[in-house]
């Protein structure tokens, strides 16, 4: 097992990557913009809303409000063809105007994509989304039927997700991946699950894990212990050497000896560096996984572009996170206190991936 140990080759690589990261921070070129267009959802997933950040009674953001930000703030300042807009939720497909939104952003030259649980994705709906310019889509698929349905809280959710993936495969050139949130129930069956995904013709797979916070804090069916986490890392590392399915662990946190082996890239938190989000209530933040406390402005009050250019200090300069266990940490230089989503309302670290590898 690799554990925390960093070999010399990796240290050199990380140092090189670190300085590229510094340049990326300095330039903070906006490459991904989340539009949290709704908080409504057709499922009640056990891990959802684990950061308890928003009120689900919040109304959807009118499309016109988002387009105004694009037209007045974003388009004049960037090359639209270089920006990926991700429609996020809630479940995006509960909105009936997603196709219209897609057409509007496509017309302006942007790429767009969306994440879905697949419940409302019929073949026809997918084709109309593609006609509206959809370029990339991710489907949540959390394990075999009982596991997936348990997490998603719906007896039909597995079948719907599976069908959605089969429709996606019918679209030539549509970039996609399948996202699995690995829970203790799946961790021992990862090999089987991998074989299943491959047999379904799935070529691209992303894994993430849940850390104990918010609603998920007391749900033992959701979080992995240290041994299971290490098992997961070994599984990903091994799967990537096989080259049969393109597997990545999500950005999340620094992974010590597994850096460079379980993802296509080294660990890097892009929130506020190349990723921004416009929340359903107009709040401007880094990536959507970050808590409300780190909101940098609001589109109904502030200029989005000015906020992106002049604020976001808390995201771009992580010195403030050099406290508590991070202050003593020997890999601080490479980790810089972990992903922004791992910080609680007071800036304290809630979870350290690296420590799980001891």
């Amino acid at each position: 097992m690799k554990g925390q140990r960093l070999g010399l080759r990796k240290q050199i690589g990380l140092k090189l990557f670190n300085s590229l990261y510094d340049t990326a921070v300095e330039r903070h070129t906006l490459r991904t913009l989340f539009w949290e267009c709704t908080l409504r959802c057709n499922l009640k997933c056990r891990h959802c809303g684990s950061d308890c950040r928003t009120d689900v009674t919040e109304r959807d953001m009118p499309l016109a409000d988002f387009l105004r930000v694009l037209d007045e703030e974003v388009t004049p300042n960037i090359d639209p063809s270089q920006l990926l807009i991700i429609f996020s939720g809630g479940e995006v497909l509960v909105r009936s105007d997603i196709e219209e939104a897609g057409r509007e952003v496509t017309r302006r030259g942007y790429m767009w994509g969306m994440v879905t649980n697949g419940m409302a994705l019929s073949r026809e709906r997918l084709r109309s989304l593609v006609a509206a310019g959809l370029r990339s889509i991710s489907v949540s698929f959390d394990g075999f039927e009982p596991i997936h349905n348990h997490i998603r809280g719906n007896a039909h959710s597995f079948e719907r997700a599976r069908a959605a993936i089969s429709y996606i495969r019918e679209i030539e050139g549509l970039t996609y991946d399948v996202i699995t949130c690995v829970t203790p129930a799946l961790v021992e069956r990862l090999e089987e699950w991998k074989e299943y995904l491959i047999s379904e013709g799935i070529t691209r797979w992303r894994i993430f894990s849940i850390f104990p916070a918010g609603r998920a804090r007391h749900d033992d069916t959701l979080h992995l212990n240290a041994e299971q986490f290490r098992h997961l890392m070994e599984f990903i590392r091994h799967t990537r050497t096989e080259g049969r399915i393109d597997l990545n662990y999500a950005c999340e946190g620094f992974l010590g000896g597994y850096e460079g082996e379980v993802r296509d890239h080294f660990y890097m938190c892009n929130a506020g560096v190349s990723v921004a989000s416009i929340r359903v209530n107009g709040d401007i933040s880094g990536c959507t996984s970050v808590r409300a406390n780190y909101t940098q402005g609001n589109i109904y009050r502030d200029s989005f572009w000015q906020v992106w250019q002049d604020r976001f200090e808390v995201f771009r300069n992580r010195r403030w996170a050099h406290k508590g266990e991070c202050a003593e940490c020997r890999v601080w230089e490479f980790c810089r206190g972990g992903g922004m989503h791992l910080r609680d309302d007071d800036g304290e670290l809630m979870y350290c991936h690296y420590k799980m590898l001891k």
């Binding site: 240290q11 990557f17 990326a24 991904t32 996020s88 379904e200």
Partner: protein
């Protein structure tokens, strides 16, 4: 050291900093589309966020028939069976080799494939580049002078890298 050089070095060390604009076929193999080098500020595009979607490739999407889709899945399954032997060989190699380069070499800035080099070669190369410039550079420090990297303990290597960095900073002042 400029960004291109750093990316090339990372590639030589067997690490990828690129996002590929070609979609991937079943079996994790990339298709014929040329990988696109993304420079410094764009190392981001290849990074997959927890709740994001993968960066799209260059092609617009268009539907194929249900039958064609089913045929392709079937092809994948057949290929799988055919490559099982290769996987076995790979598994064996993996056990034998401590450093495993993921998915083969990454492309260099000019699009050519870079052959991975050993740690020792990388260390030598970095040192040569540093001394070529004749002055301390900002960023990653030079590697321990002269001695073979592989004979150093992890701690010693880390210590020397830190020392070099300190010297480099001093020289800059």
């Amino acid at each position: 050291m400029n960004a291109k050089l750093k990316i090339a070095l990372l590639s030589m060390l067997g690490f990828s900093t690129v996002a590929c604009c070609g979609s991937k076929k079943a079996g994790g193999k990339k298709d014929d589309a040329q990988p696109q080098i993304i420079e410094s500020d764009s190392i981001n595009t290849g990074i997959i966020l927890m709740y994001g979607v993968p960066f799209p490739d260059g092609r617009p999407a268009s539907p194929i028939s249900e039958e064609e889709a089913a045929k392709r899945v079937e092809e994948i399954r057949t290929n799988e069976a055919a490559t099982e032997d290769n996987v076995e060989v790979q598994k064996k190699e993996e056990n034998e080799e401590e450093i495993t380069i993921q998915r083969g070499p990454a492309p260099a800035p000019d699009g050519t494939l870079v052959t991975p080099i050993t740690e020792e070669e990388a260390a030598k190369l970095i040192e040569e580049m540093e001394s070529d410039k004749g002055k301390a550079q900002h960023g990653p420090a030079r590697l321990p002078d002269g001695s073979a990297a592989s004979t150093l303990s992890e701690e010693e290597a880390a210590k020397r890298v830190a020392e070099m960095e300190a010297k480099s900073e001093q020289a800059q002042k």
